[in-house]
Symmetry: C2
Subunit: 103 residues, 2 copies
Amino acid sequence: MRKAKVRINDENLQVSAEILRALAHPLRMKILEFIDKHKTINVNKIYNTLKLEQSITSQHLRILRLADIVQTSREGKFIHYNINYPKVAHVVKAVDSFLEEDK
Amino acid sequence: MRKAKVRINDENLQVSAEILRALAHPLRMKILEFIDKHKTINVNKIYNTLKLEQSITSQHLRILRLADIVQTSREGKFIHYNINYPKVAHVVKAVDSFLEEDK
DNA sequence: CTAAAATATGTAAATAAAACGATGTAACAA
DNA sequence: TTGTTACATCGTTTTATTTACATATTTTAG
């Protein structure tokens, strides 16, 4: 099956690299997996369960938010995090088609 | 289509993050794309065509080599770089299944 | 053997990211 | 109100990455 090949310009490279950077941290991946596992979950649960510092957790969540990898919704005092699956799928697809043996 | 869900341990997280980090740099992505485009190519062609410094190019290639994203073969004075597609595919698949909506 | 070409590596300086602790803000409960 | 909980952000220190330049290594040509 022949796949479409995406030719990438410098701006795209910058953006793609930024998103990959956001993913490329063990703690962030762990947090993401945790959110994923629960579909939606608040910050307290994340850092208590994973035994992380509150501020560190918030900072990593911020990076994920800025990269648009997660989304939030407030419910009273709580802020629920959930994964932006379309975005993740997009990233995966981008890396996939960016380097593709079958031209 | 239901996909297999990979539960990931700390070591896997570390390894995945390392590979993603190697990918997550605009210049490295540019170099990778260039290698990809040519299937196999030497360092000279890379830095001359992309207008990069020789040592910087070598240093980024080193990072890609250590992450096992590219492979090399020597032919006389020249060292040919080519992409380790199975590895890239593996990374893509890992990210893909790591965060997967369909459980 | 010596010189030059192709590539890699060492290292210092610059820059960026991470961690840490403290403070800020919003929502709610008393 | 005031206090407390949930979360975010700020300022600083620590650590990692990137760049830049010089030097080293390997191979080949002369």
